[in-house]
Symmetry: C2
Subunit: 643 residues, 2 copies
């Protein structure tokens, strides 16, 4: 047969038969093909523990998992907004009654709180967001912006849901720029009250969770004025509903209505019409007003005071990052199991599992590596967050890491939910297979609790400060090593980060030298600012992951190294143009990195199924029929699914 004939022959097949002789029929575990990978088998439990990394909290998690087996938590889909909200409330009440979540012990054991909220998010994002608004935002404001009088008055009622709370920060006109909010709190010394007012429609509180139906009190962010003197943003406890559910006088509420997801959260809009509240309702830890109207604060700078008041929000970002990663892992479990059992094309009666196609491998495997890689910086972030006595470095790291990881991991999660949806074909479009729900519910996490682009600016700003203060070490490019060498990989990512911060600095200076404003210089380089923020997260992810790999046993080390290599090749290949244009790697290294992806995918193929089955996601949260061992039987006639 001539080569031309042979090629004609190839191309007569749209998609070829028998592509993958080495994956056997009826694969439900990848055990039988392990011999084809240089990555040897590992102890699944050991790897799961290594990913989970919170041994002391096992009993707490187990207790909550047991509670979440209550049938009320079984997945439901076909509901209108009213039904969603009611179900979410009922689910919340089960959690509240169990005492699993409590703001009174939040400061004492924040890790318990984080891990519990993560569980709730895997069960139902509406549930965790509704409770998150009440506990992490409203309760946390009372706890960490208020003082003893507030703790005594409110904490017990918050824990028992006797006082369901809202968090009134965002306004229609101001989201990212909280300092620009318009709601006013004017002190009336004659009555010793604050007058809370919404001066315009743009000042209406917007997207306020629990406001549309259940909230009775709201921690309202407002500009404090005393005798016409402005003292900046402060937070006040304002009643919005009576215990019977009716809206209090001088408050108006509307509903935010239907959303892309999170239908169970009753977001609403609030107007205050010169609503009077007692002086004691100011959360006065960082600034207080004495009866005579004297303003007192231990923090002189308005900006710093504002910083203290929004500092507790960092917990939300930690939780978003870890919850996004859990959802991405869950989607990877669903799509990967399906990819190993779903067959299409090939010889009749012996069709190929779709994971045998490179198009599938190249979509799923780098993401499998990614969810494992991000596990470690997020674990490190949670540890810093829960540190009882934080050093100054801890505080800074917490701010920068939570900003960077929240942005990058929520974006990666969105990407993973999208590609897993597509990898499952039509099944990915069915709500039963879970990816659809997470896709809709979690989309908002990229823009709430700090818009991702704004958060990356926080990261970049910090690096620029370090550079300016002479505390930043410039890393040069390395043109010599193996692309699978961890030190080379870290150096490569360090080089990019330091190259970016240097060019950002130089570009801003050049703007200044041309007589432009500082702000123009910053804004004209927001592309580099964003890129630098992402580069930082790549670098710390690799460092954190590699530090953990070093501690791993010989059983699990090879598969973790495979993930590290694939994560590295994916990240670098995404920005190959930058590396090449700026001489960060040579052409031959670039080519090797590009070629490595197919190679690493072929290494992953025999172990990919075992690897997703080692992920630290409790099996009770996997409801998707296509993720079951014999998915066809899940679709037999007569098997009704409630929806």
């Amino acid at each position: 047969m001539s080569t031309e004939e042979r090629l004609r022959n190839i191309i007569s097949h749209l998609v070829p038969n028998n592509v993958n002789d080495y994956i056997e029929d009826n694969v439900t575990s990848s055990d039988d093909v392990t011999s084809f990978s240089r990555v040897s088998k590992w102890d699944k439990e050991e790897l799961r523990e290594f990913l989970e990394n919170s041994p002391t909290y096992k009993p707490i998690k187990q207790k909550l998992l047991q509670l979440l087996k209550d049938p009320i938590f079984l997945p439901r889909y076909n509901m209108n907004v009213q039904e969603w909200r009611e179900l979410t409330l009922q689910r919340a009440l089960v959690i509240i009654k169990s005492g699993s979540i409590s703001i009174s012990e939040f400061n004492r054991d924040p890790m318990k709180y984080l891990l519990s909220m993560e569980m709730l998010n895997m069960s139902d994002p509406s549930l965790s967001v509704k409770l998150g608004v009440h506990f992490s935002l409203f309760g946390n404001a009372v706890l960490n912006l208020g003082t003893e009088k507030h703790h005594l008055k409110y904490i017990k009622d918050i824990d028992s849901w006797k006082l369901p709370g809202c968090f009134g920060m965002t306004e229609l006109g101001h989201g990212s720029n909280v300092q620009g909010i318009e709601t006013t709190a004017t002190y009336d010394k004659s009555t010793q009250e604050f007058i809370i007012n919404t001066p315009s429609d743009s000042a209406q509180k917007f997207w306020i969770g629990n406001a549309a139906l259940h909230g009775q009190a709201c921690s309202v962010f407002a500009q404090l004025y005393i005798d016409n003197v402005h003292h900046g943003v402060h937070v006040f406890i304002v009643p919005i509903r009576n215990p019977d559910g009716s809206v209090v006088e001088n408050v108006r509420i509307m509903d935010n209505g239907h959303k892309l997801g999170l239908q169970g959260v009753d977001n609403g809009r609030i107007w205050f019409d010169n609503k009077r509240i007692p002086r004691d309702n100011l959360l006065n830890k960082f600034g207080d007003v004495q009866p005579d109207g004297t303003y007192v604060s231990s923090i002189q700078s308005k900006n710093k005071r504002f910083g203290s008041m929004v500092a507790p929000l960092v917990g939300g970002r930690v939780l978003i990052a870890s919850s996004a990663l859990n959802a991405a892992k869950l989607a990877m479990i669903v799509a990967t199991r399906y990819a190993y059992s779903r067959k299409q094309f090939g010889s009749k009666g012996n069709e190929n599992p779709i994971i045998s196609y490179l198009t599938h491998q190249r979509r799923l495997f780098p993401m499998l590596a990614a969810v494992i890689a991000y596990t470690y910086p997020i674990a490190q972030l949670k540890k810093i967050y829960c540190e009882p006595n934080k050093s100054a470095q801890n505080v800074k790291d917490l701010h920068v890491w939570s900003s960077g990881l929240k942005a990058v991991v929520s974006w990666t999660k969105t990407y993973i939910l999208q590609i897993t949806r597509e990898c499952c074909g039509g099944q990915g479009f069915s709500s039963f297979n879970q990816i659809a729900g997470f896709k809709s519910d979690l989309d908002v996490d990229m823009t709430y609790e700090g818009d991702n682009h704004v958060l990356l600016q926080q990261v970049a700003r910090n690096i620029l400060v370090e550079l300016q203060k002479g505390r930043y070490t410039i890393t040069s490019a390395n043109h010599g090593s193996s692309i699978y060498d961890a030190d080379f990989q870290i150096q490569c990512l360090k080089w990019r980060e330091s190259n970016l911060v240097q060019s950002l600095s130089a570009r801003i200076m050049s703007h200044l030298d041309q007589g432009r404003s500082l702000e123009q210089g910053w804004n004209s380089n927001l592309d580099i600012v964003t890129f630098l923020g992402k580069a930082f997260v790549d670098r710390v992810t690799m460092e954190s992951f590699q530090a953990s790999i070093k501690k791993a046993s010989n059983s699990i080390k090879p598969v973790l190294e495979l993930c590290r290599n694939l994560f590295f090749s994916w990240r670098v290949s995404e920005d190959l143009g930058y590396f090449l244009c700026n001489d960060g790697i040579s052409h031959s290294t670039a080519q090797k990195i590009q070629d490595s992806i197919n190679h690493l995918c072929s290494e992953m193929l025999p172990v990919g199924l075992d690897l997703v089955n080692s992920l630290d996601i409790p099996e009770q949260f996997i409801h998707a029929p296509i993720a079951k061992a014999d998915y066809m039987s899940e679709f037999r006639y007569g098997l009704e699914r409630k929806y």
Copy 2:
């Protein structure tokens, strides 16, 4: 002030004030800043006509637009699946009664059909999909796979919805590989009937639109057997419901349930239990069975016969590509108008419109260029599709272009819906602002009517055939010209395509030379196959766009050229690593292309709002409050929105 102090000063601002002095307060049109762009003003109507490009169909469109003003078509959100389906049915009946959509005139005037379905899709994707299943799939099968007896018996009842139809191709076990379906049609010559049977649960018809509730007949794809001889896949009209809505004997139906989107479409699952149908129910245009069981067909090859039977599906891909583009344009209108009127940060009372931030420009403007660029190859594709007497070249182009454009444009649409959602912040998460609904409803378009990855293989296969037959012209790299030169841009994209097809060919040959199978060679290079398919679409998009630009007046040419330049820079910068590694462009050109994006965004800034307002999307489909001139007033207290 020292440079260090100045930099410290910069970085003390997270997001700077007054970034954009040159965009004035209260911008609702970009007219007032046009002087800052080298792109002069243009006639908006002229540009809209140039984008719309179907002057003879204006009256038809106007009539349908008038009909779609009926209040039944006003957006609704808060419904359960049952309510969604009922509303969609009622909407469908209004369309049916108006006679706007008709299968009887489908072959006579396919453009009318296409344009009408596009309008319906902008109004409500569930509506267009429900009617699309009935007309484009079921009706089209009767029309183009059936013969006169079928036309006489069914067409009138299809047009009047007396016989609501389903399209029974996909099975649980077989989606992309239709030739692998398991449903059988066994001819019983003793009664002159076919026996339609579902031999296993994996053979159940799955995702069948109109099956769960309204369908009464189904065009069933099944393997034809006569006297134990297999004749390949054929299509049969099988009754599934009686006129009273009850399911017929020997048919079982279940519901596919809740989905990510398209809740108004009643997708279902069908089992046939040796269901007998008359011999006349075989759609016999390409293959027939005589009363005595003799099989007759003018097409000898089973594969070619199968190809003829699925050929009418090409219309669905044309419609998906054009509808995806419309949704992307609509989302661009919403997000861009909001970006020019929404303000955040900057000096008090004079905050910056968010479009003034580079992070916003770099997300929105390349996509604005993209939706305009894709307008032209899609118009060309529609023209080929509607050509009454297609040449062999037309038929091939139709297959390849519809496959490639369906894949690339549906992916780009998904990307655009994602970034516009994020660019609108929380507002993008609200259903009222429309992006959320399109995001959910249209997600499936990447995997139905041909999975995008499989379709790109069709494209790549065709290019490889051309290369093998010596009909493909290899283009070499050009290292000399201006990056804004159209010929250079096209040559650049041609070079990439020809470089990819050459390396694909070489790699497959090398696999063969190493004794591996043809299929292994193809599958081991699916990354290049996919990349080649995308590269083809980039190239034909540029060629088609540039051919149209050449015909444009001097008034609209500059803005179209700006779009072409930005589209080119975006596409190349996405794959910069490939261009550099393979010496397709020089380092300096690569740098210029990367730098050009910020420059072109600054050119776009003063005209971006005018440009979205010139897009060919009827204003009546823009319901989003944030897309209104004074969006704040859309959120005033008391203004209730039905949802």
